[in-house]
């Protein structure tokens, strides 16, 4: 195990009660500190089940999951995982507990039993990072969908976890809300936070360091986003849709207008086209 390994899955399988087949099976995975990793897959591929193991909301029915070298099976391990990994879920409406923005952000730190001064400092930091600094006293019902999801992020990071898991957190957002959230995530990542983005949108993984593809509850592929875009039919087989930009890039390569190995990142693509 590398020194800076934050999460380690060792042969993890999980079968929901009364389910015939496991939702995830034989997962071996390491997530290093400071890494931004995307977990991809179509609906029912086991992404959310895998995510819930990261902060011990689910305990493997087989195998072991270690967070900060603590096995999540034990009480200590569970506590350590909850403190080390925060989660943001798909629907912000179902994870906001308080009626006022700052009170909701304070919920996590309050649960940790921190001092009022520390809680206030964390709340103000989390709101600033999430771009909600001016909305601290606003009622939650007055926020837009995008703002609510950023509030959910603020609530999660106020616990100052080393790792943040976004479980399809952009699904219910409009393009602007998605863009804003991605900016927040980039800021957090550049501050050294480990990020795990669970998604089925390939355009969201461009900033990630690594992505893994889940299919039928198993890891089918593991590599960088650029390597993923070089794949052909496999993507369709896993139920993933190639971003428009990559399709354009492929067409141009086929027509001999671009070199085959140009990685499909926005800036580089524009540059290549201008040439």
């Amino acid at each position: 195990m590398t020194e800076n390994c934050l999460v380690r899955f060792s042969g993890v399988s999980y079968t929901y009660p009364e389910a015939a087949a496991p939702a995830i099976a034989d997962i071996d995975l390491k997530i290093a500190s400071g890494e931004w990793i995307a977990v991809l897959g179509c609906n029912g591929s086991g992404k959310s089940t895998l995510a819930k193991h990261l902060n011990a909301l689910l305990i493997p029915t087989q195998g072991d999951c270690f967070v900060n070298e603590f096995n999540t099976r034990g009480e200590d391990g569970k506590r350590s995982a909850r403190r080390a990994v925060s989660m943001v879920f798909q629907n912000p409406e179902n994870q906001i507990i308080a009626a006022v923005v700052e009170e909701d952000v304070a919920f996590g730190p309050e649960n940790l039993g921190l001092s009022p001064e520390e809680i206030r400092a964390r709340v103000s930091w989390a709101l600033d990072v999430s771009g909600l600094g001016k909305m601290a006293r606003k009622p939650v019902y007055a926020l837009s969908g995008g703002q609510k999801q950023r509030l959910a992020v603020a609530g999660a990071i106020a616990q100052k976890p080393p790792c943040l898991v976004m479980d399809e957190a952009t699904t219910m957002l409009d393009p602007r809300g998605r863009q804003d959230l991605m900016e927040v995530l980039s800021t957090l990542h550049s501050g050294g936070m480990t990020l795990v983005s669970i998604t089925h949108r390939l355009e969201e993984i461009l900033r990630c360091d690594r992505c893994i593809v889940l299919s039928g509850g198993r890891i089918s592929w593991n590599g960088t986003p650029r390597e993923l875009f070089l794949l052909g039919e496999e993507l369709a087989m896993w139920g993933l849709e190639v971003p428009g930009m990559v399709k354009v890039w492929r067409e141009l390569v086929q027509k001999g207008l671009l070199e085959a190995k140009i990685p499909p990142l926005m800036g580089e693509m524009v540059e290549a086209l201008c040439r």
Binding site: S86, Q95, A98, P116, R137, A156
Partner: protein, 271 residues
């Protein structure tokens, strides 16, 4: 469907005001005294005093009067029903009679009295929730009930349930409206026919609503667990409750005012 938009009880209005800054325990106990006082006055002087105090509190709270008044809307049927029952079924000196229907002087007085009491009751309670965030309200209740914890009273759990219930009122109202619109779009006639038919037409709204409520409750529980919630033990607060001189003054004022209103009202009614 408009009644859904009129529901404001429970929707906190965060503005800076003297009333907002009072300790929630002071506001809860103060309002309790006011409510008892409202139910003990009988004559015009008593109601006038409670009405004037209410106006004073609303202006001090800086909450728009429109919002305060709208807290009565969801209960106007109850107010009207209570008033009508008292109007027609109180015996006494007849003022007007038509067939078997008879309105008495005592009935008219009782109807006005009960109507005013209910309206004041709802508005005072509404002012409490408009000026106190659900979290503060829950913290206040938890603190007030904490002496009973040694007898096994679940003070924290009740307070948390209340916070969540108040937080989800607007969400569930939106959800209800969404389901109603979806059912109307599919040809349901929710606003036609007699009361029984309307009630029956509501079943297709209630069933999905219940399913959604349980789904949301499940998701919320997961989210709370993910945010390290393990119950009341070991929790701290961002704004710990602090009782100040201002709170003692406000509470004493509400107690003295309640006694004064009841006393003066009683004296004014003496022959």
């Amino acid at each position: 469907m408009r009644f859904l938009n009129n529901m404001t009880l429970g929707q906190y209005v965060p503005v800076e005001s003297l009333v907002h800054h009072l300790d929630p325990r002071c506001k809860i106990v103060g309002v309790l005294f006011c409510l008892v006082g409202v139910f003990m006055v009988k004559g015009p002087l008593g109601f006038l005093m409670w009405g004037l105090l209410f106006l004073l509190l609303v202006s001090a709270s800086r909450v728009p009067a429109r919002l305060v008044l709208s807290t009565v809307r969801p209960v106007w049927i109850l107010v009207a029903f209570t008033a009508v029952i008292h109007l027609f079924f109180t015996r006494g000196e007849p003022l007007f009679s038509w067939g078997i229907v008879e309105i008495t002087r005592e009935g008219a007085v009782m109807a006005a009295r009960m109507g005013l009491r209910l309206v004041l009751l709802v508005m005072y309670a509404g002012l409490l929730t408009l000026t106190t965030s659900p979290t503060e309200l829950a913290d206040g209740l938890e603190s007030l009930f904490s002496p009973f914890r040694r007898f096994g009273f679940p003070a924290h759990e009740l307070a948390m349930m209340m916070t969540i219930a108040l937080r989800f009122i607007p969400t569930l109202l939106n959800e209800t409206e969404r389901i109603m619109k979806a059912q109307i779009a599919r040809g349901a006639e929710l606003e036609r026919g007699g009361p029984l038919r309307r009630l029956r037409a509501f079943i297709p709204v209630l069933v999905p609503l219940f399913v959604i409520v349980f789904q949301r409750a499940d998701d919320l529980a997961t989210a709370m667990e993910a945010r390290n919630y393990t119950g009341g033990e070991g929790r701290s607060r961002m704004h710990p409750l602090k009782w100040s001189v201002r709170d003692t003054t406000a509470l004493l004022f509400s107690v003295i005012f309640s006694f004064a209103a009841v006393f003066l009202d009683g004296r004014a009614l003496l022959p």
